[in-house]
């Protein structure tokens, strides 16, 4: 028998659930909750979408010219340290 879990408890664990680091018993309780609670189900799907978006990485770009500026500074410093 799966013991019911509250929405607040689900929200506390939703990030761990997405990362699959919850205990099996808790996972089963959360799964049962998601089947009947539309709000928490929407929170889960929306949060998963956000994690996937961020993980895509393409949306986070380093500034143009970052590499060349970085290595110019490093060159200048290495040049001084060689002298």
């Amino acid at each position: 028998m799966v013991i019911e879990i509250s929405c607040i408890e689900v929200w506390r664990e939703i990030s761990n659930y997405i990362d699959d680091v919850v205990e099996p018993e808790l996972r089963a309780r959360m799964d049962a909750h998601f089947r009947v609670c539309k709000h928490c189900s929407a929170v889960l799907d929306g949060t998963r979408n956000v994690v996937k978006l961020i993980a895509d990485g393409a949306e986070f770009e380093i500034p143009a010219g970052f590499g060349s500026r970085l290595y110019s500074k490093l060159n200048a410093s290495l040049g001084k340290s060689k002298a």
Binding site: A42, V51, K73, L74
Partner: protein, 215 residues
């Protein structure tokens, strides 16, 4: 940082040995794979691109000077990201920015449970029309709305894909704190991004699941 030695890959170890023998060019090869991680770690703390770039440069210079003290107690990338985080935090303190952190109504309290918003009112914007540039801007704004503590964790876990353990080591916090801050960051991002785009984004991927409002 852990006291015991951590196996680092052979290539990194060889490059570090070459740098210590005076082959400074090897340092470029060592750092190049970490550039992006360093920049985003600094960005996580500082929240703006110009400062993040400045700190990234300082980090690399500092790492070069500190390399003789590197004892393989962590992976090289973990070690240099740790330097980046410390440099970024030092800049925040130096600029006294921590004293002027704007507390706007939407910024979540750090104590207590975070309650994700209930979106009963959806704007009529089809997700297909959302441009990549708009999405990037929306992500930036959402990231900027996070507290630095939560943003740091989000960057390391979800942008850099570091493990919970590595993230805890770099930030000098417990794994439990990593999980708590990550939870708050993710829910805050979801709340900031969801309105008006019904919970799905077009990026050419079929993976994203449309989130429908409940009736």
């Amino acid at each position: 940082m852990a006291a015991s030695s951590v196996p680092t890959n052979d290539r990194e170890a060889e490059l570090i040995r070459r740098v210590s023998r005076g082959e400074h060019e090897a340092f470029y090869e060592l750092v190049r794979p970490c550039e992006r991680a360093i920049y985003f770690a600094a960005m996580g703390v500082l929240g703006n691109s110009a400062d993040a770039e400045e700190v990234a440069q300082e980090t690399i210079l500092k790492a070069f000077k500190a390399l003789p003290n590197f004892r393989f107690q962590a992976k090289f990338s973990t070690w240099i990201i740790h330097i980046a985080i410390n440099e970024a935090r030092a800049k925040l303190r130096k600029d006294h920015r921590h004293l002027y952190e704007s507390i706007h109504p939407e910024q979540e309290r750090e104590e207590g449970d975070y309650r994700p918003r209930d979106f009963a009112d959806w704007r009529d914007i089809p997700s297909e029309e959302l441009q990549r540039k708009e999405l990037r801007e929306a992500l930036k704004r959402a990231m900027a709305s996070l507290t630095p503590k939560n943003r740091e964790v989000l960057i390391l876990r979800d942008v850099q894909h570091l493990s919970i353990a590595e993230t805890a080591t770099i930030l000098g916090i417990t794994e439990a704190s990593v999980k708590t801050r990550l939870l708050r960051a993710r829910l805050r991002m979801r709340d900031a991004l969801a309105p008006g785009i019904d919970g799905s984004w077009t990026t050419g991927s079929d993976e994203y699941k449309k989130v429908r409002p409940w009736s």
